[in-house]
Symmetry: C2
Subunit: 118 residues, 2 copies
């Protein structure tokens, strides 16, 4: 199915604070609760994510849609998608294939600032 | 202790991608793993958070430092602070007093988009 066939339902669009800005999307392992990464979504990437059940972000560095895992195979299969109370942040509950981080770590959040700042 | 006495260590500052922009900070319950909210930090709020062990954000709406819980009593006591691999997002592992969300819900993420978009 071509990507441009995906659109957000009116019910979802009304909940977004601003459908024209990028909003942070947190990927969380649906079993362990581990936070895997934070990336960004625009309306199109959210629509594709909801429709395909594969996490799809907007790459700020490449300025293009980014199906997580499309080159690495490390897909994130969607179990749930939660929007926050003011409509400007998302939690994706996912099944992570392989590791989320390009370093090979399971999670991108592996630098402990309390230890580093001691 | 006046807030302006807090500063980031050089070791932490070097890990930040850009110390002059706001970065998203995810608060997560340190026991259950539940994601509670997402707010924003600048360098000063991160320094205060690390020093005081109370989550302190930068309020984008009020344009000021925001010690979470200072009016509601719903403080977030810091257990760990994790920076991601590219230095532009944070996870705060916290003990949440009361609820994180102003609606009274424990978590701000309580709108299920898969259900809403059906």
């Amino acid at each position: 199915m071509p990507m441009n066939q995906h659109g957000l339902s009116e019910a979802v669009r009304k909940l977004l604070k601003d459908s024209h800005t990028l909003i942070p999307a947190i990927a969380q392992d649906h079993v362990s609760g581990k936070i895997l990464m934070l990336a960004w979504m625009n309306e199109e990437s959210l629509a594709i994510t909801l429709a395909t059940k594969k996490a799809t972000y907007w790459s700020r560095s490449r300025n293009e849609l980014w199906v997580k895992g499309s080159t690495s195979g490390h897909f994130q299969f969607i179990k749930d998608v939660w929007l926050d109370c003011d409509g400007d942040a998302l939690v994706l509950s996912v099944e992570q294939i392989g590791s989320a981080c390009h370093t090979g770590e399971l999670s991108c959040f592996h630098q402990n600032l309390l230890e580093i700042s001691e």
